[in-house]
Amino acid sequence: MTNYQVHVTIENKPGISDPEGKTILNDLVLKGTHQNVSEIKTAKMLKFSIDEKDKETAQSKVNEICDELRIYNPMVSIVKIDVFDA
């Protein structure tokens, strides 16, 4: 078994409003001198440390946990799962 770091990023689906991201864009970034920024989206990241036989299994296991325990709400959120060597 090898230890892997699995990053789970949860963000709103397109079309679901993200007032925090909009506030950071409009009231912080665009009020500075960074006019080339067009969008900022907030997200939540959970970092799992998991022992599995390989990267693929680590990814599918964490995916399964996320679905089973509703770590993200599929009605409004999408999830991205990235695996790294510990």
């Binding site: 409003s17 770590i71 709400n73």
Partner: protein, 226 residues
């Protein structure tokens, strides 16, 4: 009438609810701790407001995995009246007992203020004493109260008369001003505002009578004249 008030770690409106049930409406209220089975003598169950598990991950999602929720699902299937208030509503949607999701308020602020509800469905065990479109002055107190469903679910909610309460104006960005919904059978109701904070004239600067009808509807459902 025996009414269970489910208590999770972080519930904080459980005692207000218990007080209203027992001292205002003379019901036999009992606390039900989240990791114990639900007593089998209950005629109705209320999930009170608060901050179960500190709203960690997402309001209501951790409590929705508590052992007692399996029992709540069983009695929901039997048709017993179940009311979720605020965090209780969030737990009901996260457990799949009610459709939709409660997102952070548009303002991103915790909102604690008086609102007006409009009754959209007066057939549930918690609204049968209301006239349709009756107004209820009632306070909200939440950070994640913005109701959202996708278009397909919204159509179904409208078709099956599952929208129970709406705000009378834009409050927090809730889709179509939805403040409360029920399941298809109508016995499970969730609402963001706090009726237990509105039924007594001493703490209601407006009109406490409409809020009392939420509990009087439950009494009516149980065949009790108050």
């Amino acid at each position: 009438m025996n009414v269970g008030v489910v208590v999770f770690p972080g519930s904080n409106c459980d005692r207000d609810m218990f007080h209203v049930l027992s001292d205002v409406f003379n019901l036999n209220a009992q606390y039900c701790w989240h990791d114990k089975p639900l007593p089998d003598n209950l005629d109705a169950v209320i999930l009170p407001g608060g901050f179960s598990y500190g709203d960690r991950l997402r309001a209501g999602v951790i409590a929705a995995n508590s052992p007692i929720i399996q029992d709540v699902k069983k009695i929901a299937q039997k048709g017993l009246p179940i009311l979720g208030v605020c965090n209780g509503f969030q737990i009901l949607v996260e457990s799949g007992l009610l459709p939709g999701v409660l997102l952070k308020n548009d303002s991103l602020n915790f909102m604690c203020e008086w609102t007006n509800l409009i009754v959209e469905n007066n057939k549930t065990p918690f609204t049968n004493q209301f006239e349709l479109n009756q107004k209820i002055p009632i306070p909200i107190a939440n950070g994640e109260g913005r109701y959202y469903v996708d278009d397909e679910t919204l159509n179904k909610l409208e078709e099956k008369n599952q929208i129970v309460f709406k705000y009378d104006q834009v409050v927090n960005g809730s889709l179509n001003q939805i403040a409360g919904v029920c399941n298809e059978d109508g016995n499970v109701v969730g609402m963001m505002p706090h009726p237990e904070r509105a039924v007594e004239s001493e703490i209601n600067p407006q009109d406490n009578k409409p809020s009392t009808l939420i509990f009087e509807s439950l009494l009516k459902k149980a065949g009790i004249e108050n």
